[in-house]
């Protein structure tokens, strides 16, 4: 690596060769979020690229289905925390303590924890977690303090496809800016499921979404419970047989109910290495870094596309978003909350609402109890048309201003 630090780059004229760059890499404090398929590889790649101050955070434990790709785990590790096993494995292999593990949810850590890092590499499989991380680091930027801006390199895979993006919070597109291009779970129209099933998937959805709550009132379907899944499978199979549909298997039922995304070692290797390559270029400047999105598709030959995602002026998180919603003044606050949850430009799960007073607070418990009676009230009893509500949600670090206009 040293020959790259001591000689100029023909592709990056701004680079100033500096023999001390390897020390700089070793001292850079980097946070890896996720110790799964991508995380394992990211950790190994960082260490073999010269990084020595690495922290990793992950709340998961190792499952047998991880072993086909998560290269730092062995059969005997099933059930143990991913972050700890991964850190220990790499530290032992390189005979040096270079990785510190945090067996936590990302939300358990506060801004102070995240502030200590210079750069973040994410290997996450959930959109919600990505959204949270992006919002946290956008929120942390203090314009008077350049060190408060931490580059995020975000990798993701699905089967033979993957993507890498470089987020410079507030400077370029954040996670939220691109929310329209995130793939969502495949959903089947309820009328197809109920009336005109054609695919095995339709029958499985019917069994799990329509029949399960009817038959097992109050019991939540647990996709990891094999008895539950057997019931879904046999119920779906019966419906499929009635309609002459073939192709129901237990494996397919699990895939549909758990929304399982295929994942393989090779794609993870490609995307993780690409992430760490960007981290190395950002920290050392020895080549231009990715601006700002690379898509990899490996299922039909190999295709890649590198392009710049635009920052959205009215982004909920990093822009000046003004969201307006039009409703009847006679609906209840509870109904308004449901409207907000299904609103596509908001995509919130547990919104809390305030005007100058608390309308409804999901937490803490004493405020929830206190504000709960408002849920049944009609909107005109609570505020006037065109009022601006402050909306907060656990999936977002910042609050959103929402203008509610009455249609009547």
């Amino acid at each position: 690596m040293n020959s790259f630090y001591t000689q100029p780059s023909a592709f990056e004229p701004d680079f100033v060769p500096d023999a001390n760059l390897s020390d700089r890499v070793a001292e850079t404090k980097v946070l890896v979020i996720g110790a799964g398929g991508l995380g394992c590889e990211i950790l190994k790649n960082l260490v073999l690229s010269g990084f020595e101050q690495i922290h990793v955070i992950d709340m998961d434990t190792i499952d047998v289905t991880n072993l086909n790709r998560q290269s730092l785990f062995r059969d005997a590790d099933v059930g143990k925390p991913k972050a700890q096993v991964a850190a220990e494995f790499v530290n032992t292999r390189v005979s040096k303590n270079v990785i510190t593990a945090h067996y936590n949810r990302i939300q358990d850590k506060d801004e102070e924890f995240y502030r200590q890092f210079e750069i973040v590499v994410c290997g996450l499989d959930s959109l919600d977690a990505r959204r949270w991380v992006s919002a946290m680091f956008v929120n942390m930027v203090d314009e008077s303090d350049p060190s408060s801006l931490k580059p995020i390199i975000d990798g993701g895979t699905e089967g033979f496809k993957g993507q890498v993006r470089v987020i410079l919070p507030t400077l370029n597109a954040c996670h939220e800016c691109a929310s329209s291009m995130h793939s969502k779970k495949v959903t089947y129209p309820i009328c197809t499921i109920a009336n005109t099933p054609r695919l095995p998937e339709h029958c499985i959805e019917w069994a799990s979404v329509v029949q399960w709550p009817k038959v097992h009132e109050g019991l939540k379907l647990d996709a990891d419970n094999i008895e539950h899944m057997q019931w879904v499978y046999s119920t779906a199979l019966k419906r499929a047989d009635e309609h002459g549909i073939s192709g129901i298997t237990l494996s397919l039922a699990q895939g549909v109910v758990k929304n399982i995304i295929p994942a393989i070692a090779s794609t993870n290797a490609i995307i993780s290495a690409s992430c760490v390559n960007e981290a190395l270029k950002i920290v050392t400047g020895c080549h231009p870094y990715l601006n700002n999105y690379m898509l990899y598709v490996g299922d039909s030959s190999v295709y890649s596309h590198t392009f710049e995602l635009e920052k959205k002026e009215d982004c909920l998180v990093c822009g000046n978003a003004k969201v307006t919603i039009e409703v009847s003044k006679t609906i209840t606050l509870e109904e308004l909350i449901e409207e907000i949850k299904i609103n596509n430009s908001l995509q919130l799960k547990k919104p809390s609402l305030r005007t100058d007073k608390n309308l409804y607070m999901q937490a803490p418990p004493f405020l929830e109890v206190k504000s709960r009676p408002n849920l049944k009230k009609q909107l005109y009893e609570l505020f006037e048309s065109n009022s601006t509500l402050t909306v907060t949600d656990p999936s977002l670090m910042t609050s959103v201003s929402l203008t509610v206009t009455f249609t009547d």
Binding site: M1, S3, F4, Q7, P8, S9, A10, F11, E41, K44, N45, L48, S49, V64, T65, L67, N68, R69, S71, D75, V94, S95, G159, F160, V164, T196, P197, R198, H243, I245, G255, I260, P262, A263, I264, A265, S266, T267, N268, A269, I270, S272, A273, S274, V276, N277, E278, L280, H287, P288, L290, M294, Y296, G298, D299, S300, S301, V302, Y303, T306
Partner: protein, 532 residues
């Protein structure tokens, strides 16, 4: 087993997993590129691998190779890497051979003959040539790859191959030239007689077949062929009196352009059917490697099926699957059955031809056997037959000529030249010797004709020459460094290509590919002579 591999079986099915579980992978070169590649093959569960190298573990390996550790210093590199890789998956058997890799030996050949696929990591060009030459006749795929700093390139050499399609990739609906059964079914539905609810549940396949009939009647029996004509057909569908926003009609409008053209046989499949091997397999089957014999027997049967006017009549066997579409359950299942039955009839015809061929005197003595399942898989994937060249590549005597000469081709050429430099001098070019740069440039000229005369357009020439200059500077700067991230990325890429070839699922890279870690991009390179 299936629980461990659940997340990947969802991609390549149990059939692909079974191929993996039977596969033996031979890897030449056990530095970071080799170990990272093998890691991605051991994890998903190949049967076994064999790793060949001459080196012992040194300090340099500790910096770039994750599958060695301090206490292995001085030990055999291939042995160490093999041991540590085997920890990844107890179901995989690992073997190693401490061996000189400066030329291909009989011992190497004996090992190669037992392999499903051979992967060459950073090997010198003469060894690559000899191994490709040896494997070509055996029908064993070879992937040769090398990395240098932030840049890597890989080439695949396969003599013949077919893959399993995935339903979302191929839709063979025959809407423009319907077979009897589906045409009769569609004729049997009278849209005027249906009530609106029923009409909203007629699958778009039926709507399009009906509308195309109407179009042909208006246009002297001709199908739309130009884009303009296809647009006109789409307008015709849109203008139907029943096309008033129902989902099924919207689907028909959406698919009108895509499915209205004449049936065309994929070029790659034509190359297979027109190959001289299709003649050879009946006239002189001994000339074909036994490993490839089954492929060519089926290819010949397929050709006869396609050419026979009462069988394929110019078309491949029907795929037999249809995508989901707005429809009531009863009609959808009926149509699904019609397609499935027709596909089964086609397979049966090809299967009968296969059995007739195998009974012929010349083939009988080869003891080649093919089951109905083999033929079914072959037919189902006949749209995806691959066949790269009828004669083997002559790597040692050829000179590259690219139709376009851009950054990817420049990097590919420079990487090949750097490998040749290493073969001659036993080291990679660097700035420690002032002559290295001009030697490397000369080598680039030797391996590639474009290097002398990059482009005719003056502006383009300037930028192409700048790129060439910059790429040479970058190769001097990197001095053959095996950067871990580049090795890890390339290890992923090469393993993925190997998996596609072994499982026969998904489409592999047929020629060469360059990874450019400077600009975070992949370039596919067409560096093989087109012989057909």
């Amino acid at each position: 087993m299936s629980q461990r591999y659940d997340r990947q079986i969802r991609l390549w099915n149990l059939s692909g997993q079974q191929e993996l579980a039977n596969a033996k992978v031979g890897v030449f070169g056990s530095s970071a590129l080799g170990s990272e590649t093998l890691k991605n093959l051991v994890l998903p569960g190949i049967k076994e691998f064999v790793l060949l190298d001459h080196r012992i573990v040194s300090d340099v390996d500790l910096l770039s190779n994750f599958y060695v550790s301090k206490n292995n210093l001085g030990q055999s590199l291939s042995h160490t890497v093999t041991q540590l890789l085997c920890e990844l998956n107890p179901q995989v058997a690992g073997n190693y051979l401490q061996t000189d890799l400066s030329k291909l030996s009989q011992e190497h050949k004996n090992i190669i003959e037992t392999c499903t696929i051979v992967i060459l990591c950073n090997q010198i060009p003469t060894l690559v040539n000899d191994i490709v030459d040896f494997c070509w006749d055996l029908g064993i795929p070879v992937i040769s790859c090398s990395v240098n700093g932030f840049i890597g390139s890989t080439s695949t050499f396969i003599s013949e191959h077919f893959i399993e399609s995935h339903e979302d990739q191929i839709e063979d609906l025959r809407i423009s030239e319907p077979f009897n059964e589906i045409e009769e079914y569609s004729d049997g539905i009278d849209l005027d007689e249906l009530d609106p609810t029923d009409r909203a549940h007629i699958p778009y396949i039926v709507i399009l077949i009906k509308k195309l009939k109407e179009y042909k009647k208006m246009n002297g029996g001709k199908l739309p062929s130009t884009f303009k004509e296809k647009r006109e057909f789409k307008n015709l569908v849109e203008a139907d009196k029943y096309c008033t926003g129902e989902e099924n009609f919207m689907e028909a409008v959406e698919n009108a352009i895509r499915y209205s053209g004449e049936y065309t046989m994929p070029t790659r499949v034509l190359q297979v059917l027109n190959s001289s091997n299709c003649e050879l397999v009946v006239s002189n089957p001994d000339k074909i490697q036994f490993k490839n014999l089954a492929f060519w027997v089926m290819a010949r049967a397929l050709r006869d099926f396609v050419h026979c006017s009462t069988e394929g009549n110019g078309k491949l066997p029907l795929t037999g699957t249809i995508p989901d579409m707005k429809a009531d359950t009863k009609r959808f299942i009926e149509i699904q059955k019609i397609y499935k039955n027709k596909a089964n009839q086609d397979i049966e015809k090809v299967y009968n031809r296969v059995q007739d061929l195998l009974k012929s005197n010349l083939l009988k003595s080869t003891f080649c056997k093919l089951t109905r399942q083999d033929v079914e898989t072959f037919c189902h994937n006949s749209h995806r037959l691959l066949f790269s060249s009828s004669s083997k590549p002559q790597l040692s005597t050829r000179k590259l000529t690219f139709p376009t000469f851009e950054l990817g081709e420049i990097m590919y050429t420079a990487n090949l030249a750097a490998q040749t430099f290493n073969q001659t001098y036993g080291r990679f070019p660097s700035n420690s010797d002032i002559n290295d740069k001009s030697i490397l440039e000369n080598l680039c000229q030797q391996v590639c004709t474009n290097w002398n005369n990059p482009q005719s357009d003056q502006n383009d020439q300037d930028s192409t020459e700048t790129l060439m200059k910059n790429v040479i500077a970058e190769f001097i700067r990197s001095n053959g460094a095996e950067l871990h991230t580049t090795c890890a990325l390339f290890g992923g890429l090469v393993a993925q290509e190997a998996i596609k070839l072994i499982t026969r699922h998904y489409l592999p890279v047929e020629n060469s590919l360059v990874y450019d870690g400077i600009n975070s991009a992949f370039y596919s390179i067409n560096d093989k002579e087109e012989l057909l």
